[in-house]
């Protein structure tokens, strides 16, 4: 297949348009997916108190009673 200037323009104007629309729909669906709301809220709040060092593996003998 000969890849000419016209071919590139046609490709950009057809595939380019549809892939951008598909991406927009996909991302909007992801951002507003109802079950992800809790995860996003937790993430937004997670940065407010994060100076307590890396999360640690809790050793079994030190595990507090719950």
């Amino acid at each position: 297949m000969d890849i000419s200037h016209e071919w590139f323009v046609g490709f950009s104007k057809s595939f380019g348009l549809f892939y951008l629309i598909a991406l927009s729909i996909g991302i909007t669906a992801y951002a507003y997916w109802p079950s992800l709301g809790g995860r996003f809220d937790r993430a937004a709040k997670s940065i407010l108190d994060d100076e307590d060092g890396p999360a640690q593996e809790i050793k079994s003998e030190d595990t507090p009673c719950r």
Binding site: A31, Y32, A43, D50, I58
Partner: protein, 550 residues
């Protein structure tokens, strides 16, 4: 700093520094008589100093505490200081070249001190030196906190930070010697470009490895912005700098592209340097430090995801708006223009998201200059993105292009948005990093805020005035159809605005000097503060700091 490295790490660091020094020696020998030879000596000195710093501490005691209990902040601290030093140097160069435009005698007759050589020292100094170091330092801080994980190694963060600074030094010293590729914001020559690729790949791997160790289920949005910055800058840098060296022993190279392809590649790079170096990374800063400082989560996390993808997908297409009315095909110009206008939507979504986060915290904005820096940065982000979309419209660009309006627009973004969010983040970060009670002088932060704001406003207004006058003078015709004003006429008309612009820049530079002084005094003189939170987590507290993983 050295006491936190193990013996094995010190040996590795010494090996890398020794290898780097050998490369420097080879460059100095091969490039004798060429600027590349001078660069060889600089590389040799840079790695030689590092080699001896590591060697002198090779056998000192090794760290004993469990490092998995804390974040690795040493490179972040050095990065913040380096960023501020570059800020002072880069902004001083800016004030100098601005003054040369008003008073040309300030060139002092040197070849090295002409506008054409010092201007890239200014642009690279502030964008890469100040902005780049601030981005690397804050990214180290944010990726560890948001992942609740320590960085995987202790050598690669130093390699990235110091290696990047070596690139900045090679770039700036090269410009002064007349070494340039003549590509805006990509002036550095081929060997410096190759070195930056190595550094950048290590940076990307370091970031991905830290994220892969995360103890949070979700990757916080600030990391998305930082990752896009790292990934896309790598792509842009490699493609735009594809070149064939004229010889292996000299600095000169020839671009792989020519003509309009070269122009398009350069401005695809150039505008995406604005996008992915000067916007997405700093949005990462904004999305982390602004909510944290305000003590409130971001107004809409979902909107931050939408605007992230909007910015990423739209920005990559807009470069051609730099080439309106050129040999570039008309449809490519129109494409760039259309995407530039569409870009306003995600840009304002980000700016609005930041400002809405402050709703309910306006009392803090009034009292806390640090938060005010961030608020004002969001305002300038909104203003300059609106202006950018507007100027990308072809007929508007016909008036604005090649005039000082463009310069004013760039500085509204660089000073008002990029520098203000960086200074705000540095003021928020310094007491946390060095575990100090507060900044040394809150009055100095206030002074800095008002100097920076007034400097930016004076700068931008003078450039708006001079730019529009220039644009109008260049398109004014007489009744007989000839141009009414010569170029020199427009230059004379610019004189008062050039003085005002240099003054605005001087105010901004003064603020940056105050910031460096304040940070140094904070480190030296403010008492230590024990962290309020259980840092590091101790089992005696009888409660885990965090569930290990959800």
């Amino acid at each position: 700093m050295m006491s936190n490295l193990t013996g094995a790490e010190r040996t590795t660091a010494m090996t890398i520094a020794g290898f780097g020094a050998l490369i420097g020696l080879a460059m100095a020998a091969a490039g004798h008589g060429d600027p590349m030879g001078v660069h060889g000596w600089i590389v040799l000195a840079f790695f030689g100093v590092l080699f001896f710093i590591v060697a002198s501490a090779l056998y000192s005691p090794e760290p004993v505490e469990d490092r998995a209990l804390s974040y690795y902040d040493d490179p972040t601290k050095v990065g913040i200081i380096l960023a501020l030093i570059w800020a002072v140097v880069g902004m001083f160069m800016g004030v100098w070249v601005a003054s040369q435009l008003a008073w040309p005698d300030l060139r002092f007759e040197g070849a090295w001190s002409g506008f054409g050589r010092l201007r890239p020292v200014h642009t690279s100094g502030v964008i890469f030196g100040f902005g780049g170091n601030a981005l690397i330092a804050t990214s180290y801080h944010i990726m560890q906190r948001t992942s609740r994980a320590r960085m995987p190694g202790q050598i690669s963060p130093w390699f990235v930070l110091l290696g990047f600074n070596l690139f900045c030094i090679l770039a700036a010293s090269g410009y002064v010697m007349g070494v340039t590729q003549s590509k805006e914001y990509a002036e550095a020559e081929w060997y410096a470009d190759i070195w930056l690729v190595v550094v950048w790949v290590v940076y990307f791997i370091l970031y991905m490895r830290t994220l892969s160790r995360r103890n949070e289920p979700h990757i916080y949005v600030a990391n998305w912005y930082y990752l896009s910055f790292i990934l896309v800058v790598a792509i842009l840098h490699i493609v735009n700098n594809l070149a064939v060296p004229a010889s292996w022993t000299g600095a000169k190279s020839y671009s792989l592209f020519s003509g309009v392809q070269d122009a398009m590649t350069q401005w695809w790079y150039g505008h995406n340097a604005v996008a992915f170096f000067l916007t997405t990374g700093f949005l990462g800063m904004l999305y982390y430090f602004l909510p944290k400082r305000a003590g409130r989560p971001i107004y809409s996390y979902r909107l931050s995801i939408l605007s992230f993808w909007g910015i990423v997908f739209f920005y990559i297409w807009v470069g051609s708006h730099h080439l309106h009315y050129t040999a570039l095909p008309h449809w490519v110009q129109t494409l760039g223009m259309t995407f530039s206008v569409m870009l306003l939507v995600p840009s304002w979504a980000s700016a609005g998201n930041a400002l809405m986060t402050l709703n309910g915290a306006w009392g803090k904005v009034r009292d806390d200059a640090t938060l005010r820096f961030m608020m004002m940065a969001a305002v300038f982000y909104g203003l300059s993105t609106f202006e950018g979309s507007f100027m990308a419209i072809r007929p508007v660009n016909g008036l604005s292009h090649y005039t000082d309006w463009t310069v004013g627009h760039v500085h509204a973004g660089a000073m008002g948005w990029v520098a203000l969010i960086t200074f705000g983040s540095i003021y928020a970060l310094t007491p946390v990093l060095w575990r100090r009670e507060t900044m040394y002088s809150w009055k100095a932060v206030e002074w800095h805020f008002w100097l920076a704001l007034s400097g930016t406003v004076i700068y931008v207004f003078s450039m708006w005035n001079s730019g529009i006058i220039q644009g109008l003078m260049w398109r004014t015709y007489t009744e007989t159809g000839t141009l009414k004003f010569s170029f020199v006429d427009s230059l004379v008309a610019m004189h008062p605005y050039y003085i005002a612009r240099a003054f605005g820049g001087l105010l901004f530079l003064t603020g940056a000097c105050i910031c460096l002084w304040n940070v140094v005094m904070t480190i030296l003189h403010v008492p230590q503060k024990a962290p309020e939170l259980d840092y590091p987590t101790s089992s005696e507290a009888m409660e885990p700091a965090l569930p290990a993983a959800e």
